[in-house]
């Protein structure tokens, strides 16, 4: 069983600070989709076959085996909101983490 565990609840980071959201699974990820939901809109940031390292608009997704990290080096208002993880390994799971800017 994958039983993925992701950074829970709310992550708060200072504007311009570094934010890291992570998910760990017992089995290797094969596909990950990350969506950001903010101001009533949801957009897909990444939808990637894994493993790999992917860059997009200030977001950096690193996936190796059953470890996935979403890194934002300099967090801006555009990065704030609810992050939805759609994780695929041997099973599929949906997880969510909220990112707040202080």
């Amino acid at each position: 069983w994958d039983r993925p565990a992701c950074t829970e609840g709310v992550v708060s980071v200072s504007r311009g600070g570094r934010a890291v959201l992570a998910c760990n699974s017992s089995n290797a990820f094969t596909h990950i989709t990350v969506q950001l939901s903010a101001h009533g809109k949801t957009r897909t940031i990444f939808s990637e076959e894994t493993p790999g390292s992917f860059l997009q608009g200030g977001w950096w997704l690193q996936v190796r085996g059953g470890q996935a990290r979403l890194v934002i080096q300099s967090t801006q208002d555009a990065h704030q909101g609810l992050y939805l993880w759609h994780l695929q390994g041997l099973q599929r799971h949906n997880k969510e983490t909220r990112l707040n800017i202080l």
């Binding site: 069983w1 099973q91 599929r92 799971h93 949906n94």
Partner: protein, 202 residues
């Protein structure tokens, strides 16, 4: 033992609840079932919501995954159920057959479709009873138990009603009797005369 009693009580409560269909986004059937060791159960999970896959998990007395099913992908079956699970249908309307059931398989099984936001079914209570009675080595009368399962709450209610009726009637009769003299002396004519004669002597 305590778990068995609790489970039986849960079953009775479930049997007494009204069976009106509720507006659920995930339908699951049956809601409860009693089977013998070695029997099979079919649990159907269905939803009209778009989903990526479907979990059937044991929710009580412990939490653990049983199966994961996704259309056109190899299903995952928990080691405990290897060789005892079969599927029919698609992930939107899936029937999961669990075979060769053991007493330890008793519990509440719940469907969890992979949707966002997350949803779950109402759960199916599965009670697996021993095939042989340990004291007598005679088979339990499962069919009778199955019949009694929905009837028992009504039988209890009826029993209470008649007990109350009996007590009420008994009280009413006692009240009626207490309105009359408790002892009635009956004198025959001879006794009256003897009585008068005795009275005259004194």
């Amino acid at each position: 033992m305590a778990q068995l009693i609790l489970f039986t009580l849960l079953f009775l409560l479930a049997g007494a609840l009204p069976m009106a269909p509720m507006a659920q986004e995930v339908q699951q059937s049956p809601l409860h079932i009693v089977v013998s060791v070695g029997d099979s159960v079919n649990i159907t999970c269905s939803t009209s919501r778009p989903l990526k896959g479907l979990f059937l998990n044991l929710s009580w007395p412990r939490r653990t995954e049983v199966i994961y099913y996704e259309d056109k992908v190899n299903a995952t079956v928990d080691q405990k159920f290897w060789g005892r699970i079969s599927f029919m249908g698609s992930q939107n309307n899936l029937t999961i057959t669990m075979s060769l059931l053991q007493v330890a398989d008793s519990g509440i099984y719940t469907c969890f479709p992979v949707t966002y936001p997350g949803l779950s079914g109402p759960g199916t209570m599965v009670m697996v009873t021993e095939e042989l009675c340990q004291e007598t080595q005679e088979p339990y009368k499962h069919q009778e138990y199955r019949l009694m399962f929905p009837i028992l709450p009504w039988a209890l209610a009826g029993g209470c009603f008649f007990l109350g009726l009996g007590l009420g009637m008994s009280f009413a009769l006692r009240t009626q009797v207490s309105g009359h003299p408790r002892h009635v002396a009956i004198f025959t004519p001879t006794q009256r005369e003897e009585s008068r004669a005795g009275g005259g002597k004194g």
